[in-house]
Amino acid sequence: MSAERTERTGRTGRTDDSADSAVRTCCLVCPSWPEDDATGFERVVRAVENITPRLAVERPGLLFFPTRGPSRYFGGDVALAVTLIEVVTSAEVLDARVGIADGVLGARLAAISASPHPVVIDEGGSAAFLAGWPLHTLVRLAHADTEMVGLLERLGLHTLGAVGALDCRSLATRFGPEGRRLQRLCQGFDVAPMELSVPTAELVEELAFEPAVEQAEAMVFAARGLAERLFDRLRARGQACVGASMTLEDDEGTSLCASWRWEQDFTPRVLAELVRRRLEPGDHELPTRPVAVVRLRAEELAPLSGRQGDLWGVDYADLARVERLAASLQGLLGFSSVLLGEVGPGRTPLERTRWIPWGEPRGHDGTGPRVRRPPRPGETPSLPGGIPPPSPARVFDPPLPADLLDAGGRPIAVSARGEPTGAPGHLRCRALPGDGGSITAWEGPWLHDLRWWQPSSRRRRAWWRVIVGDETHGIACLVAIEHGRAGVEAIHD
């Protein structure tokens, strides 16, 4: 099971950080590139793709790639760096900074210290190069926890070198996985592999039938789903598809191809319609045997203009209308009165609920394409101690004041070691119909001990999901106890 999981995460480009490695990496920074100009940066990315097809774009203005192949091709790291500068200068980036070192962090810092000539750190020299940089560099470049870095600095560890030189277990025991991650960064190791975009692999979606199918209808259904996934992924890369091909493989391995170009408004719906027409009898070849594999491939790409249709072909007039409406309502009611939601990181429904003003960038939501950047610590979708679904539909910030009592009517408290003093028996809360009532079922407690290394900001909470009422009429609530006080944080409404 665990081997299987490792393999799966390995394929998607994220692995456990157990492997000691520092991939020789080249970093390109365009310091004055506007963060929101992803479309313009696509031009730069394409120029760089002439040097190497496999690169990781962290944000507009910042990209990485492993140097092994291209460096051999251009005759060494220095020659590669010079070529890269020439290439991006011809793509009208005038302030490009290029750094090459072992590991992503080393390359990034090398690029930062480069100006305007590239900085190439010799192989094996990254740890020495990193050692002199101040520790708080990690806050900005590696999303390190500010308080943890502050604590380390108060302990007299001011540089990456000082932290890297500690006994390897001391940070891990004191700060857990995040401490271990920081130390490995300081030592110049890559804690997560680069998420490389591999054009050929990324532009294909396929579905295998078992057993093979004969009905055209079935293939069109499959193509529709595949097209949706393909376009969705391209959109996450800021690209739109203007040409696509379909391959049908029959159960004997013979394949049948068709390709299309579609300049305007190419959507999954259009592609599925093209597939349907192609499979209708006419003066073209049709599959003669049952089809085992349907494969779609994006053949030609264009930068996403922001007007390409959504999954099922959004009516553009719709989007334009909503944009106008949102702007007008923001004028009428205030900027933060018109919102779009997203599901953020966190353990509880309240922590994960985020409403972002219309027009502000949204990080990640549970529905849309994943933003291409390495996960920050604590951003994994399921945190340890996270409260499992189903999620309650209403959350209350601040929590509704309540009393959680045990069967004997005594308030439940949680000891310093995280042990509750009793089982939930009764919930009193003014906001609930009937001011609450007796608890017929409960689940939990989930115990959260956050920032335990920092007494001033340490938070200890215990959570229960309780059902107030009886077998015919139940209200499910999430109740939290913190500092001996109970509160209803969410209701399954």
């Binding site: 209308r321 939601g341 529905t367 059902i467 077998e471």
Partner: protein
């Protein structure tokens, strides 16, 4: 392998197959005028959905499940590229639940801080741009204002899902009465079981009868 099974493989939200099948069939006017609601909720609605341009009254006490039901309507409206909106007066809707119920958050507009005096304008404007608006009637909404909103919604084909004392006419009336939690109720400490929402649906010439539907989590179910 039958087409519905395939769709289940190809699409990540199996509960919306029903809606998918309708959405891709040659659109007859009858289907087009209907917002198809997938899953158990659709099965208790006349015609499997809600007529576009109509008003749905949806209400229930806190904890009974009315918010989840309105999120399911928003999910149906946002499923195939459409937009939905909510006038959120108490700032309590939670995004994880919305996603679990199938709402596409990037096409779900939430509007807050709406003063009572501006409420009709805001709802009317939202209705001009999106397919479905969820809102709660403010104090003192007059019959004439409600009628103007109904007329505008009908013209635009917008569905208004309204909670509270709506003075005007309505198509469907859904009263969410209570929820029961099946399974481990009475067995403390065990994970909670499935949820049944008990509701009464009236309208379109049908008398209301109590119905119970399981609350479906689209990502799990």
């Amino acid at each position: 392998m039958s087409p519905p099974q395939l769709a289940a493989m190809a699409l990540s939200t199996p509960a919306s197959i029903e809606a998918l099948t309708t959405a891709i069939q040659p659109t007859s006017p009858g289907v087009d005028r209907m917002l198809v609601v997938p899953g158990p909720l659709g099965s208790v609605l006349p015609g499997g959905g809600v007529r576009r341009g109509s008003v749905v009254l949806l209400d229930g006490p806190l904890g009974a499940g009315a918010m989840s039901i309105s999120l399911q309507f928003a999910a149906a409206a946002t499923a195939f590229g459409g937009w939905a909106a909510m006038v959120d007066d108490d700032e309590t809707p939670a995004t994880p639940a919305a996603v679990e119920l199938g709402v596409v958050l990037e096409r779900f507009l939430v509007v807050r801080h709406v003063p009572v005096a501006r409420w009709p304008t805001v709802v009317a404007q939202l209705g001009d741009a999106v397919a479905l608006v969820v809102c709660r009637v403010p104090q003192g909404l007059t019959l004439s204002t409600a009628r103007r909103l109904v007329a505008r919604a009908r013209r635009r084909g917008t569905i208004l899902v309204v909670a509270g004392a709506w003075p005007g006419e309505s198509g469907l009336r859904i009263k969410v009465e209570r929820s029961t939690w099946r399974g481990q109720v009475g067995d403390p400490g065990a994970p909670l079981g499935d949820r049944l929402v008990h509701l009464v649906v009236e309208g379109h010439g049908r008398p209301g009868a109590p119905r119970s539907i399981p609350l479906v989590d689209q990502h799990v179910g």
